[in-house]
Amino acid sequence: MTTTVGPSHSQEGSGAREASSIAVQVRGLVKSFGSGDTTVTVLKGIDLDVYFGELLLLVGESGGGKTTLLSAIAGILDIDAGDLDVLGASLIKMSPGTRTRFRGQTMGFIYQQFNLLPALTAAENVAIPLLIQGTGKKEAISRGRLMLERVGLGDRTEFLPRNLSGGQQQRVAIARALVNEPQLLVCDEPTAALDGPNGQKIMELIRDVGRAPDRCVIVVTHDSRVFQFGDRMAELTDGRIVGIHPIQREATA
């Protein structure tokens, strides 16, 4: 199979879709850092729709605002201006406490550096989102083990992160991101710390387990080998979306 990036569309590259299928709607999003003369505006009026059932890639040059946009969408970074509706709720209208609970109930996170707790076993790490939501320890760890089986680590449930390879650690992180059945999966450079084959496997996994009709996945990446796993690609340059492209897959002989 080969991958080609289609022509740029003015807004959502996949053409017209029903409004009800929008998972994330960003309008006029502005975010700056610093103050006074040292203020740097990282996002300069972003408009973006992300749909249920799709895997959207956020690409662009370093410092273009990809990670800042992802953080804003995930509700872990306050924005200066604009509207931000995620899974039908306005993030900017939520109190910090409500937003924290909302994140825990609806989102899953996959990080470049995995961010596993080194003192916890793989199963315990996966159980963390459930423990945060108040699930009992036994049940949470049991569900963690089941999720590890789904990502192919059924025989590594009691391993500490330091005894797992980078690819295996990222699988644990994926299992952790999915254990509470989130509707929005946000991934920041999930393959950056992995070699080529491991990165491919991880992206296959994210595509397979992450993409479902009631779920959407946003992946920040600069790794071109990852492009084939996306449905659309939004390109950010200097704090603006300069193009949103559908990714077309063609079967090869």
Binding site: G97, R101, Q105, N115, A119, L120
Partner: protein
């Protein structure tokens, strides 16, 4: 999340042990120094507690028990005549030098008890019979006198020595609590004590008394003060007065207080710094927890649980080590070491303060932490 907090704490073994050592050291230092301090304070009023009498009548300007200010010999009868007094007896207390058979001199505290009743005698006798004090030239020693004056081979029941060129024969050895100055105590009768010491115009050191069972002690004491113009105290009050004098005049309180404060500061510094480092090094993990939906309150609870877990463990180990120190070094009353529950409670409160302040520094850091750190 308590489970996660504890796993995080115990998982970083090096930091956990460093935290534990810091807090254990602080607790041990505070308990050890506090217990020795209190032991010294107990010793400073041993001259009162060893005699075990309820009321002490003294010179009105008395500052402490070992600073004797003689009172008129007629005072005993005057006190006896006051209503509510069941009995009153004289007590002599003064410093003298003893010359042993081997030619050695030792300073001693001579204590002269009422010969009829021997009121004020030590409760426990280790050798001989205290009643034999009524025999000619008889004296009794406390066990510290035996130790200070050459040991049991030199000083035992039957040994003779001189007090101011007059013969003294040991008839009993009593068990008492060591005094602050650890000067050997020689007991004899009041009348014989006056024969041993050089003649003075006033020889009565104290009057020991007891209120009748149906008379309130404080009222009787006030009546003694009013009728005699002298000082009168319960044993407890006189003991505290003596402790107060020692604290004010010896600098011992400042010395021990400084050490105890240092223990607190060192414990605070080690625990605070290590805990802060522990939090900073786990900042990304805490950020990840925040991103995954853990509130600041949840994280604060985790930090407090970690702080108090290591704190209470350190408290237990520290007290254990201080107690072992006390058992090993303060055996048989050789060193002042008195561990009391108010001290342990005080140390517990101090430890809670150390843990809370240490945790608070980390909690403030976490409260300000933007979960977006995990994407940087």
């Amino acid at each position: 999340m308590n489970y996660v907090a504890l796993r995080m704490l115990f998982g970083d073994r090096a930091k956990y042990l460093m935290l534990l050592c810091g807090l254990t050291f602080a607790v041990m230092l505070i308990v050890q120094q506090g217990s020795i301090f209190w032991g010294l304070m107990i010793w400073s009023q041993s001259s009162i507690s060893n005699l075990n009498v309820p009321i002490w009548v003294t010179d009105p300007g008395i500052a402490q028990v070992d600073e004797v200010k003689p009172i008129a010999d007629t005072t005993v009868d005057r006190v006896r005549s006051i209503s509510g007094v069941e009995w009153a007896v004289p007590l002599y207390k003064g410093l003298l030098r003893a010359r042993l058979a081997n030619g050695e001199y030792h300073q001693i505290t001579l204590t002269g008890l009422d010969s009829a009743t021997l009121i004020g005698r030590p409760a426990e006798v280790l050798a001989g019979r205290f009643e034999d004090l009524r025999q000619p030239d008889a004296v009794a020693l406390d066990q510290w006198a035996v130790e200070r004056m050459g040991g049991p081979k030199i000083m035992a029941v039957g040994t003779v020595f001189e007090l101011n060129d007059k013969l003294a024969r040991v008839v009993a050895i009593a068990k008492t609590q060591k005094t602050f100055t650890n000067i050997p105590v020689v007991y004899t009768t009041y009348e014989r004590a006056l024969r041993y010491v050089p003649r003075e115009r006033r020889t009565l050191s104290y009057v020991l008394a007891k209120a009748k069972d149906d008379a309130p002690v404080e009222e009787v004491i006030q009546r003694i003060r009013d009728h005699t113009g002298l000082g009168a105290f319960t044993a407890d009050a006189f003991g505290w007065k003596t402790i107060g004098w020692v604290l004010k005049n010896t600098g011992i309180g400042i010395n021990f207080g400084t050490t105890i404060l240092l223990g607190f500061v060192v414990g605070m510094a080690i625990a605070g710094q290590t805990f802060y480092l522990f939090t900073v090094e786990n900042l990304r993990q805490f950020g990840a927890l925040k991103a995954m939906g853990a509130s600041t309150t949840t994280l604060a609870r985790m930090i407090l649980l970690q702080a108090f877990t290591v704190g209470i463990t350190g408290y237990g180990v520290g007290i254990g080590l201080a107690t072992i120190f006390g058992l090993l070094t303060a055996q048989e009353g050789q060193l002042p070491f008195v561990e009391t529950w108010p001290l342990l409670l005080l140390v517990f409160v101090a430890l809670l303060m150390i843990c809370t302040l240490s945790a608070l520094i980390s909690i403030i850091k976490l409260a300000r932490l933007e979960p977006a750190i995990v994407f940087r």
